[in-house]
């Protein structure tokens, strides 16, 4: 496979390039333009896998595998983890803080791309030596020889960098407790002292016909009660209000019952009379 890199690649590689290259560009565009961060992350993972295939096609066998293991395996999973932590549903705001910034950014990107592509087009990049000679003793062996001789100092520094990054991440995300956590007894005593809400909080979904955690329980008069939904969901505004839904369902049920009892002819007239009297 490494022998085909001379002036021109094989038809198979060309076909692979055009098909997968298109998919890679579409994945990159989806990363930028998808509204939700999860979709962006998945598109980016797809693009990275395609890039891994391109590394393999270019004779970088070790890098191709490392790309899949490190990027799609570790880094993208870390991204997805943080997306879940920060809130999946948090969609990007479409409001512009600086007027016309989006169009200016697109223009800048376009100009930058034209400059970059024009630069590559103008450079004389016709001669490709191919990696047949360099990969003769195996790609991994060749890389190892270089890493442990010519680039050994950079390699050592990399170790220091990784340790610093790990420590930095721990320092950044660690929070020291400044006071002792209250025990359950102390909390209940405090509730009694303040006279706020002494019994346990009501469960979500009571009288609401659904018992999902994001559905507020209904009070006897049909209004939703905020107390029943967890504070996190309340802060994010993710409460589903089904009080109107229940009333609508009831109305539909009544109508169906009336249809079955064949009161449909009389019903509209009485309805209108009622509305008029109200």
């Amino acid at each position: 496979m490494s022998s085909l890199a001379a002036y021109s690649t094989s038809t198979g590689e060309a076909f692979q390039f055009w098909v997968l290259g298109t998919v890679a560009v579409i994945g990159a565009l989806a990363t930028v333009f998808m509204k939700r961060a999860v979709h962006s992350a998945l598109s980016l993972a797809g693009t990275m896998i395609i890039l891994a295939i391109f590394y393999l096609a270019n004779g970088a066998y070790f890098l191709g595998i490392v790309q899949i293991v490190v990027y799609t395996g570790a880094i993208m999973m870390l991204f997805l983890f943080v997306v879940m932590l920060v809130g999946v549903t948090a969609a990007d705001s479409l409001k512009e803080t600086i007027k016309g910034q989006r169009w200016l950014a697109l223009l800048c990107g376009l100009g930058f791309g034209v400059l970059l592509l024009g630069g590559i087009g103008n450079a004389s990049l016709k001669d490709f030596d191919g990696l047949a000679q360099a990969n003769a003793n195996g790609n991994v062996e060749g890389l190892a020889t270089l890493i442990f001789t010519k680039y050994v100092f950079a390699f050592e520094i990399t170790g220091a960098l990784l340790i610093t990054a790990a420590v930095g991440a721990m320092v950044l995300t660690h929070r020291e407790r400044t006071e002792r956590a209250k025990t359950q007894r102390e909390m209940s005593e405090q509730r009694v002292r303040e006279g706020k809400y002494i019994p346990p909080l009501p469960a979500p979904g009571v009288y609401a016909r659904h018992n999902a955690v994001d559905i507020a329980g209904l009070l006897p008069d049909g209004t939703p009660s905020d107390l029943t939904v967890s504070k996190t969901l309340r802060d994010r505004g993710q409460i589903r209000d089904v009080s109107a839904e229940a009333l609508n369902d009831l109305k539909a049920l009544e109508q169906r019952a009336e249809e079955r009892l064949e009161r449909t002819e009389i019903e509209p007239a009485t309805f209108k009379k009622e509305e008029a009297s109200q």
């Binding site: 270019n58 790309q67 570790a74 970059l116 592509l117 790609n139």
Partner: protein, 99 residues
Amino acid sequence: MNPVNYLYLSALLFTIGATGVLIRRNAIVVFMCIELMLNACNLAFVTFSRMHGNLDGQIIAFFTMVVAAAEVVVGLAIIVSLFRSRHSASVDDASLMKL
């Protein structure tokens, strides 16, 4: 096909990533766009390695990957602590220095 096309693809991906950094507000997506740019650079390095017939380009790409891994760890930690303090991952909300 001339392998130079890989360089064009890499330039295109880098441009898309750079535009994404400028356009998007969500800090996580901005970070993903930076990763896209790093990956585009790696593709260019690998292609140049093939062009010159030695493995130095692949070594540099390898180091880029290591640095990117370290950068992601620290960057995501910063995003998480930012989200903790302001309940939003939007880069516009971090504007305490603005008058």
